[in-house]
Amino acid sequence: MINIVLEPFQYDFMLRALFVSSMVGIICPILGAYVVIRGMGFMGDAMAHAVMPGIVIALILGLSPFLGSVPMAIVVAVSVGYLIHKKDVSVDTAVGVMFAGLFSLGLVLMSLVGGLAISIEDILLGQILGVSRVDMLISFILTVLVLVALVTFHKQLIFSGFDPVGSVVAGLNAGALNYMFLILLGISIVVTLHVVGVVLVVGLLITPAAASQMVMRRFTRAMLLGIVFGLFSTVVGLYLSYYFDLPSGPVMTLISFAIFLCCAVYEKFFSQTQTSHLM
């Protein structure tokens, strides 16, 4: 049994993959808890697609994809925040238009340049086994940054999400909090991209969080249970992909989906928790 657990990690690339997967398993459910409750799942998906030009430009320049995607994520987050604030058009429409445009720009850039170090499939479905030491270090720093910000502003984020007007009257700067949250979301999405790719980011972002909110009544406790679900999904997914030679991103997402189904069954038949808003 111990051999089964340890065998994959005789390879450096698997150790790096485990490390980054664990970061993602922790960070996604925490951000996801807010994303689910604020009904921002589509925005998370859109932001994942919209950082595509940043990734491609970094690759063209021969840099770590992080060095392109992080600034791009911040630009996208600020733009989305501005669109939400302006309210001239519906948020879904504005975000949808931006996501399609930037994703297409990334694809066209990739096609024009050609011969990049990674393929379109790697970007769409993740390339966890190709994570370098630099990527690992950047993932760690970004994750710590996001966690420190979230822990520090936990109550402010809850207040502004729960009672937007009351929190502003109480003196909170709701605009700054919203921008901060979107930037943290963008950074977390960038870290997650390496693990599951553009297409499946939203799966890890919202599925463990939604599952935990089904079975745990209180918000903060649900967030902690979400971390357990997230870590289980990414780490077990990594093992299964190693032993059965499966793509790691989809396996991780499938495991979190299975957890969600189990929670749905539990909630339906065994729990008193009222969570109809999640379905």
Partner: protein, 272 residues
């Protein structure tokens, strides 16, 4: 006060409608106007509310009650006129007002207990306070006990009745240590018995010095529990004690051609 065409130019030297030049009112509005997309939502609103007074802000839906609250709270700009809170412009008096939202403006998907909601009243922009727990629980406990909700501290607010929710929000306001409470549609979704309980509790708070304004589109049988009413339909139609403010003319101005229903509801002659 100088009349400049349609609007008035007002400054702090203008006399209060209640107490003249030496104004000590909690809230004073003089000729306040708010504009959305070129039309006036609030038009030349003038009134004042003394400290330690329980007032009802009465008017039809879309009559500008929430907008006026937002302007008093400093989150809605006024295009003309002035509003003063404790003698200061609203944006300089943040912290002295606590706003209790109407239920449609709360995200009930946040599964928070009564204790957690009241604890939010201690959150300021200074993030370090999130870690400062010393004395916090005592303040939260004291606030919940003052509204008779300590026994429900671990219950989710989303699963409470309308009256219980209002009590929890009032406890949050007490934690904020604000001296002015604005309650937006506080009686919406609250049964009649709970409405009386709420109003009695608010009267106790006002006796302790809080200034309280409750926005409502219908006072029902509660009118005589208020010190005064402010009738608002884009502008202030009347302000005064409940038994003098609701003249037929004022009700006509507030509710158009169907004021009779309101009249019989509001003055203790509730319909069956």
């Amino acid at each position: 006060m100088k009349n400049q065409g349609k609007f008035f130019k007002v400054d702090i030297e203008d006399p209060c409608v209640r107490c003249g030049f030496n104004c000590t009112c909690a809230i004073r509005a003089v000729g306040a106007c708010v504009e959305f997309n070129g039309s006036l939502v609030l038009d030349d609103v003038t009134f004042s509310v003394g400290k330690g007074v329980l007032s009802a802000l009465v008017g039809p839906n879309a009559g500008g009650k929430s907008t006026l609250f937002n302007a008093i709270a400093g989150i809605q700009d006024i295009v003309h006129g002035s509003i003063f809170v404790n003698g200061l412009p609203p944006k300089d008096s943040k912290g002295s007002i606590s706003y209790i939202p109407q239920r449609e403006n709360v995200n009930w998907r946040f599964s928070l207990t009564a204790l957690e909601v009241v604890d939010l009243g201690l959150v300021k922009n200074n993030s370090l306070l999130a870690f400062s727990r010393k004395g916090s629980l005592e303040k939260v406990r004291s606030a919940l006990e003052r509204v008779d909700m300590w026994n429900y501290k671990d219950q989710l607010i989303s699963q409470m009745s309308g009256g219980q929710r209002q009590r929890v929000f009032i406890a949050r306001a007490l934690c904020q240590e604000a001296n002015i409470l604005l309650l937006d549609e506080a009686f919406s979704g609250v049964d009649v018995a709970s409405q009386f309980g709420l109003i009695d509790m608010l009267r106790e708070l006002k006796e302790q010095g809080k200034t309280i304004i409750i926005a409502t589109h219908d006072l029902n049988t509660l009118a005589d529990r208020f010190d005064e009413v402010i009738c608002l339909n884009r502008h202030v139609c009347a302000q005064g004690s409940p038994d003098t403010a609701f003249t037929p003319e004022v009700l006509e101005e507030l509710y158009g051609s169907h004021p009779g229903m309101f009249l019989s509801h509001s003055l203790g002659h509730h319909h069956d």
